[in-house]
Amino acid sequence: MTTLSIDNVTLTFGGLNALSDVSMIIEPGLITSIIGPNGAGKTSILNCISGFYHPTAGEIRYGDRRLTHASPHQVTKLGIARAFQNLELFSGLSVLDNLMLARHTNLKYNFLQAMIYVGKASRLEAENRAYVEGVIDFMELEPYRNSTVGNLAYGIQKRVEVARALTLDPQLLLLDEPMAGMNIEEKEDVVRFIMDIIKERNTTIILVEHDLGVVMDISDYIHVLDFGEVIGSGTPEEVAANEKVIEAYIGED
Amino acid sequence: MENRKRMTVVLSLTLIFIVAFTFQAQAGQTYKLGLSLAITGPTSDAGDPYSKGVEDYFNYVNDMKLLGDDKIDCTIRDDQYKTDITKRNFEDFLDQGIVFYLNYSTGSTLALKKDFDEEKMPTIPASFHAGNLVDSSYIFLPIASYSAQAIGLAEYVVNNHKGSTPKVAMFIHPSAFGRGPVSDVEKAVAAGLDMEIVEVVEHGKDLDNTAMLKRLNSKGVQYVISQTIQSPVATMLKDASRLGMVAKTFGEPPPTLSPRSPVQVRTPSWPWPRSTGVMIRLPTPIITPMALWWPRLLPKSFDAPRPGA
């Protein structure tokens, strides 16, 4: 089990600090939530972890690997997967293809074998197809298996987004507002999925979410961001009692 | 080598005549001919009237019974000045069983050279590129090659120029047809023709040549030898006359130069609308439709150079 540590990370966009001097430790096997008002820098920190942004200063380490300058595909190969806040699906492809793409690095046959498509390629495809089917089953996406993703309802696309991240079989899963724009039933579904993931796969989860009720219920640990700075960290109880946090949230709402 | 090739040409010509006359004995023969040319596409301003000329001419031949009871049936196909289509047309003609082939562009004549030889298909191209004759025995040029025409013009310039070495520019079509003679003229210069080639201009589709003419003028160019189709020359002439370089023609009869049709060459029975050799003398330019002019002005001793020979 690997620990993710973020040390004094600063991220600047043309003079504006999206993150300033952010430090946090993500313990393995837990659900860690990052909360904060809009524009607080939550997505930015996920972007830094997953390699889409590179911190202006500071360092991100995953176990003994430095992620500070890694690119997304390198990060993915370390077992870190991400579900995006704004859907980033392959909208022209079927759900199945979207998930099979997440098995990209596991399909270890070469170009010639792929061209002939007997033996190894066929076997690996079938094996990974079975794996994908497991995720489809798990995320209850069976009715949509062969539908084009772009035509599905928003809630389901969100679920595909999470499913695709899961298909990468990550040790660390970054979920960016997986429940945004969902009704209460759909939210319950997603929460159930998250709890299942932890239970069945023992995946470390970083959850970014606006719904404080959900966050307080399921998180093991919470970091609160405001204007790119960590203003409070702790267990849900500790955070709920933190004055700075209350101030930020009341000032915001 | 040179002589052998000419012998082959002469021999095969003789052969054709013999064959032609043998067939003529059986009255009422129809000879199939094929013509592939650019009715549309690049150079179609020349190709289109050319096709009409050929059509008219063979109608004339048939109507006037120039071949007695025999008739010529010439199929005309558009090739859009493209080699690939010309090839297809030629294959089509072969399937139809033509006995004589008329081609058009330089590019396709060169490309199909081998086919003509393989098929033993006598061919008259509308292109008089000297390279057509290299390594081929079935292509016939009814008049001097472009190279011969251009070198003839160059020699004319040298012979009639007074003063120091004349400075000449060449204004050519951006294709094999235009580029062909350039190297031969250059060879003639290298061999001692007292002339300086200042610049070779490959024209585009410009509608204005003022800048080019001024540039040539400033480089001290005194003559422009053209190797291209009508419309670019017309454009150049228009600008030349506007710049005060009054264009004059020579040749017989001297076609009068009007802005609308600066160079129009058509002989009564065989239409060669492509007047390719045009010369402008700066600052008092002279324009020559080559096709009319070459047989009279070409020096007797002049031998058409063959590249590679």
């Binding site: 595909h73 990209h104 170009f111 002939i116 990468l168 | 179609s44 289509i85 590019g107 060169l110 086919d115």
Partner: protein
């Protein structure tokens, strides 16, 4: 397994390897087998004139090229306005051998299958190099990069003495086990070669498309950020797409060189690149069978318009030169009509026709 093996009545797969099958019903497979058989057998039954054999060869050459273009533009979504130049690279690979060794050197006349593969590889290398800007550029900017390659290609061929300044470089007739090919068999022989190449390419690409090497193409087309997050290098994937497209283009180029027995620059101009794009669009971008429909449709159309323009050219006053405009005009019209009314191309009609062979409940 379904009781009816001929029509799809539902999903009866019992294993995932079952599901990988290319043909879902016996009907599908039988039709394709019969069709392929027919393609191989018909020339034995009746002879077509050389003119039309050449047209058919030409269509098949274009099919190979369009399979490549579909990979880069259809599947990977990278507009390539220089595809004809890649085809040219293949043709000029053969031509280079002809220039240095002579046009009837054994390498050209006997080792022609090797030459074809070699041309494909050269095309792939050039494709990959030209695809390098795809690491950074997108959309129109990338299209401009491919356009500039087209320009550089035409310019280079036109001005280098080695390439005969763009004039035709001849390629000799090849040898087969029966000896040197004559004029009579030339186009027929290449028809069979082309057919084999097309069938092989078709199956190869069909297989690739259901593996990671095909899926990654659609991934970078739909969303290259997400593709990155799936663990692939999106830039390199695009370069790979260009390389693969270059390979097919190169093969097509070599075949063009052999079929026409010569290589001249004018077969590989910007105009041809645009025509290739039109073929891909009309056939159906991002579909394999569209690569067959497009060339067939466009080349047939071209033939028709040519005949029309030829007649028009003889009737209309030549000074207007309307006939010249006829071809680009009708050509543009067809593309616009397809973009407006059937952007998914002829492949979509094919999809609709095929769906009639399925019975309720549908496969999905």
């Amino acid at each position: 397994m379904s009781t009816n093996r001929w029509l799809a009545t539902g999903n009866y797969f019992t294993s995932y390897q079952d599901e990988q099958r290319l043909f879902f019903t016996h009907l599908d497979r039988t039709i394709l087998t019969m069709f392929l058989l027919l393609l191989f057998v018909w020339p034995l039954l009746f002879t077509l004139s050389n003119k039309y054999m050449l047209v058919i060869d030409n269509i098949l050459i274009a099919v190979v090229a369009i399979i490549g273009l579909n990979i880069v533009t259809g599947f990977a979504g990278l507009i390539s306005i220089g595809h004809a130049a890649f085809v040219g690279i293949g043709a000029y690979t053969v031509a280079s051998f002809s220039r240095t060794l002579g046009d009837s050197h054994v390498i050209i006349t006997h080792a022609w299958p090797l030459m074809i593969v070699l041309s494909g590889l050269t095309g792939a290398v050039f494709g990959a190099i030209v695809g390098l800007p795809a690491m950074r550029l997108k959309h129109l900017y990338l299209a401009i990069a491919t356009l500039s390659f087209q320009m550089i290609f035409t310019w280079t061929i036109n001005f280098l003495e080695f390439f005969n300044q763009g004039q035709t470089i001849s390629i000799s007739r090849v040898f087969w086990f029966t000896g040197k090919l004559g004029r009579k068999d030339h186009y027929l022989f290449w028809y069979y070669v082309l057919l084999v190449v097309v069938v092989l390419s078709g199956f190869m690409v069909r297989n690739l498309l259901r593996t990671r090497y095909g899926r990654c193409l659609s991934a970078v087309r739909d969303n290259d950020r997400a593709a990155d997050a799936m663990g692939m290098h999106p830039g390199l994937t695009k370069v790979y797409a260009f390389g693969l497209a270059g390979f097919f283009a190169g093969v097509a180029g070599a075949l063009h060189a052999y079929v026409y027995r010569g290589v001249g620059f004018e077969s590989f101009t910007l105009h041809h690149s645009i025509t290739y794009l039109a073929m891909a669009i009309v056939g159906g971008l991002g579909t394999l069978n569209g690569s067959f429909w497009g060339p067939a449709a466009i080349i047939t159309l071209e033939l028709q318009v040519e005949t029309l323009a030829e007649h028009a050219g003889q009737i209309l006053p030549s000074t207007w030169n309307l006939a010249t405009a006829l071809k680009p005009f009708s050509f543009g019209l067809v593309i616009v009509l397809f973009l407006m009314f059937e952007p998914r191309g002829i492949a979509n009609w094919w999809r609709i026709v095929r769906s009639y062979t399925k019975l309720w409940p549908f496969r999905y």
